[in-house]
Amino acid sequence: MDLKEKLLSSFLVFENQVDIDTYVHDVRNDAIKIFEEKGFPTKKEEAWKYTSLNKILKEDYSLFPQQEDAIDYKDIKKYFIHDIDTYKIIFIDGKYSSHLSQTTHDGIDVCLMSSALSKPKYRILIENYFNKAATKDSLSSLNTAFSSEGAYIHIPKNKMVEKPIQIIHFSTGNESATMLQPRNLIVVDENSHVQIIERHQSLNNNPVLTNSVTEIFTNKRAIVDYYKIQNDNSNASLIDNTFIKQKKESVASVHTFAFGGKLTRNNLNFFQEGERIDSILKGVTIIGEKQHVDHNTLVHHIEPNCESHQDYKGIFGENSTGVFNGKIIVEKEAQKTNAFQANNNILVSDKATINTKPQLEIFADDVKCSHGCTIGQLDESAMFYMRSRGIPEKEAKALLMYAFSNNVLNSVKIPEMKQRITKIIAKKLGVNIGFDL
């Protein structure tokens, strides 16, 4: 039985298990129909031209893993940004772990999707926002059909959330292969500000496939900083679908740090539904082995006077493959749009491949849109400069690569987070220096 059939047949069982709220129930039923019709995307589809899911779909995934004994905090402490106080929403094999988490209902809601979907007091919000940003593509629909758990964050008007929120999805690998489908909903009302860090981590080497959907709504003048850390082991695959709907004058930024996993696909979509919106998409990708990272971004400019900034840096070693597919659409009403996109790549191995396709679709005339894309090597004269001053080759290379990704790192607003990323980069590049020279 292939994965699609398995998913379809287990949907009925799943629907009976969860509370049948009429609204969500209908949404799920519609979604499974879309998935049934479209199936998993293949390389024949333009958006999946360079990324094949065939291999990872062959595993026999367990769809509803049994919950195992709780994990000790000390074992997984390293996956947290632990040196600052944060709210935490922690999931183990798709189930909420209350003893590791720290949620709140004090003025803001930092809690669970399962309770938001079932409790009547959240009903209006769910009806207004749930599945309203996600597109009807097959993988998002699949997630929608099985959506039951994830993070639910609602920040009411005029709130400055004083500490960041961490959302971490662990998979224990107790089953031979696990498929997880977390669903996050984040609603930030007028004038509010929130910082969120998201991570998917598998704790042993069994195959994991995560098909995650995050919907973010930023209302008038809201500010959202979202950080994604993707540094999983070599059997974990992640399809991360993020949909952001922005209203007037809001600012949303998403930083994606892709340092590995077997296959990582980021579908990052911004929809600008108001004037003077700013959208920021940044990413650093450093991978090796046979890893595959695919960034697929879309910025849809619908109204005038908006901006978008994209900056993706990639360093590809060994047999790794990188894909960047960035799309900017400017509708004809969206005059005075300022859209910028840059994608810079370094290939450090003969067997690494990079496929990039920065795409512009512009229907308005009074716009400034540009994209730049480069593939190149480290500057030899810079290398020579450092070598002649006694810096060993490996360190010199690492310094240059760090400098290469520094643009993106500099816009990280949580200092501890930046330090953590810096450490991961040092480890990835195999050097033991701090880069704070």
Binding site: E46, K332, Q335, N345, L347, V348, S349, D350, K351, A352, T353, I354, N355, T356, K357, P358, Q359, L360, E361, I362, F363, A364, D365, D366, V367, K368, C369, S370, H371, G372, C373, T374, I375, G376, Q377
Partner: protein
Amino acid sequence: MSKYTEDDLREELKTKEYEYGFYTDIESETFPNGLNEAIVRAISKKKEEPQWMTDWRLEAFQVWKEMTEPEWANVHYKKPDFQGISYYSAPNSKPKYDSLDEVDPELLATFEKLGISLDEQKKLSGVAMDVVIDSVSVATTFKKTLGEKGIIFMSISEAIKEHPELVKKYLGTVVPQKDNFYAALNSAVFSDGSFCYIPKGVKCPMELSTYFRINQAGTGQFERTLVIADEGSYVSYLEGCTAPSRDENQLHAAVVELIALDDAEIKYSTVQNWYPGNAEGKGGVYNFVTKRGLCEKNAKISWTQVETGSAVTWKYPSCVLKGDNSVGEFYSIAVTNNYQQADTGTKMIHLGKNTKSTIISKGISAGKSQNSYRGLVQINSRAENARNFSQCDSLLMGNECGAHTFPYIEAKNKTAKIEHEATTSKIGEDQIFYCNQRGIDTEKAIALIVNGFSKEVLNKLPMEFAVEAQKLLEISLEGSVG
């Protein structure tokens, strides 16, 4: 004096009829509509082709029958009815002429209207022309001068008869019969085209030139061009098109193959001005062209194109950089107005070491048109030190048109250096104001700015073409600032 406003300009532009829209009444010999094996055989027989050529055509036809039309391009149009077109049409006046005096005077008048009088060309520019009217070449000038150098420049049907060894060796090597839907169709039914062979070490002393025109109503035009530059030779080849005004859509599916052997250089320039349809988007030519060049060691192929015509354009002149140190270039200006749609660009396939490619593409869209750049830069794993630079700029006039960029970049070698940049903008009001202030009216100012915008490409055109191209740009765009 009343002010000449942008609205006036726009009005004038809309009402401007296609200047070259006329129809020459020459008795044509035309095949019945439709395509089947018998028609393919008949075309081959009509052209008195040898058996191997007939077989080659039939092979292509078999492949074509199995293929479906490509749909990935960013263009929308009513699919041509392939059984509704006639696949052969030739002017009746035969046989060949040695001098211009013998040519049907009506034909000559056509050329004069287009401003390319053969006499003038002959005297002033030293251009030898292989003039193609509806598929059969009727006049070849300067053949003798070229003959002295050993250069073969003739219609491809003559070449099939006179130099079968060359045609047999190279035809279909760069664009195989089964390459794509339209290439297969062309291979099966091509009626004529140009053939050019430059021997070893010869630098062709003049620009070779050919003009294609679609003349007979409802006739598909299937040209086949084959240019071979032998080791160390150089040739600059010009191709230009203007087509009479028609209401029904006409299909043009040409194939151009360039082969640059070791150390050779080919420069291929095109000015394309097929009938683009009227202001409501009715009529116009479908231009589905396959152009590709193969570079051997140290060879260079340079494509330059100015695309102002056609209702739908679907064209990607490409370079296969097979030999080490070979160079590919692509310079393009694509202008779309009213309801025109263009999906054009290039492919640079880097196979050899130290290969270089440059892509400069300028897209200008006005009216309700859609203009897309689609390009591929592919660095294969053995292409050490490959280098590419691409630049795609788009200029938008008015908010009803669209500009799109689809660049595909695939690198499999760590020594590759690739740069790609694209911008989209409009003509700045301050630029127009600056010109107005200095007494240059808006219309001229736009022409000036557009010329400046496309200068990098215009500069690459041979003199004779640069003037014509500049004129075309002005005609296509006058006053369409938004």
